[in-house]
């Protein structure tokens, strides 16, 4: 019996479903994601979505628990995440399994740029020099390729489509 496991990973553009035999070693999931992402599985590590630390895979067996969580496979254990806003830059370290939403929360919050509450909900993250807001559930590792461990974002104000001139 195969278990469907969702995972993002280095070299993947979005989350994907992988079929892994129940009872297989967790390294099999790493192998499948690495193959899909085009990098050597031997260098890769496995995370649960949102976790700051990788899973210890020695003796770890694929079972139903894997079906109920999203995962991430990457060669970098930690990323240096830089966020720029109005000529200032802040930096923090996150695992590649961290979501864009988590970084956004940090960047606008009291440990980040302390954005005015009136506009804070409008803020988004974009890749440096880009004006397109990133999907908030995307994992950071999707944007970084080993051996680079740095990720540069701009904090931007999202648009408010309005104006009903032709109604």
């Amino acid at each position: 019996m195969n278990i469907e496991i969702m995972s993002e990973g280095e070299g993947l553009k979005d989350i994907e479903v992988f079929q892994v035999p129940a009872g297989a070693a967790a390294s099999e999931l790493i192998r499948l994601v690495a193959e899909r992402g085009g990098f050597p599985a031997e260098e890769a590590i496995l995370f649960i979505e949102g976790s700051p630390e990788p899973l210890e895979i020695v003796g770890l067996i694929i079972d139903e628990r894997f079906h109920h969580r999203a995962h991430h496979v990457h060669r970098a254990p930690r990323l240096d995440v830089h966020v720029a806003y109005q000529n200032k830059q802040i930096v923090h370290h996150y695992s590649p399994a961290t979501t864009v939403q988590t970084v956004l929360d940090w960047a606008i919050g009291n440990h980040g740029f302390k954005i005015d509450p009136a506009i804070a909900p409008e803020m988004e993250l974009a890749l440096e020099g880009n004006e397109t807001a990133l999907p908030r559930q995307a994992h950071l590792g999707r944007f970084v390729h080993h051996p680079s461990h740095a990720l540069h974002f701009d904090l931007i104000r999202g648009v408010i489509p309005n104006g009903a001139r032709d109604r």
């Binding site: 969702m6 979005d14 989350i15 994907e16 479903v17 109920h68 969580r69 999203a70 939403q101 956004l104 929360d105 940090w106 960047a107 606008i108 919050g109 009291n110 980040g112 302390k114 954005i115 509450p117 009136a118 506009i119 804070a120 909900p121 409008e122 803020m123 397109t132 807001a133 999907p135 908030r136 559930q137 999202g158 648009v159 408010i160 489509p161 309005n162 104006g163 009903a164 001139r165 032709d166 109604r167």
Partner: protein, 159 residues
């Protein structure tokens, strides 16, 4: 495009990893399919809205060539959700769920990806990252709805 082609495209979206990941994360769930109509619930995180979930009625006729028509819905009454019960928040939330789009009494979501927004106010050119394209999927819409309904926690926590 026939309804069956639209149905096939919608079913492919509903079976995609992107859609299923949202279900896994408890961001949304599919409630009912009656092609060309889909009813999908989008969840609100605790403390973000007065309701825990909001229902949306998708009409996917000619999907994905034509953008879905998406209405904020009241499953009990089978009509639009009253304005007082719609999501609240900053300007972009209030705009998206305002009353009367595309006409009096109509409950479509006021966003560039929605069927009635495609030719509205030059939105397709002004907001290319939010407009509908045949290459987009239902999850693109759901991600936007989820973000509208759930403002950043950090924004809420600031004094």
């Amino acid at each position: 495009m026939s309804v069956s082609a639209a149905e096939a495209a919608a079913r492919a979206d509903l079976e995609s990893a992107r859609f299923r990941a949202g279900v896994l994360r408890a961001h949304w769930r599919l409630d009912q399919i009656s092609f060309p109509l889909l009813f999908i619930t989008v969840m609100a995180l605790p403390g973000r809205q007065r309701r825990a979930e909001f229902f949306f009625r998708f009409d996917i006729t000619n999907f994905p060539t034509q953008a879905p028509e998406v209405k904020i819905w009241d499953l009990l009454s089978g009509g639009s959700l009253p304005l007082a019960e719609r999501p609240k928040g900053p300007a972009r939330v209030m705009e998206a769920f305002k009353e009367g789009w595309p006409g009096p009494g109509a409950p479509s979501v006021y966003r560039p990806w929605e069927r009635h927004g495609i030719n509205h106010n030059n939105w397709a050119a002004t907001y290319p990252h939010l407009t509908w394209l045949a290459s987009r999927d239902l999850t693109f819409v759901l991600e936007d709805l989820y973000a509208l309904i759930n403002p950043s926690t950090a924004a809420l926590a600031l004094p």
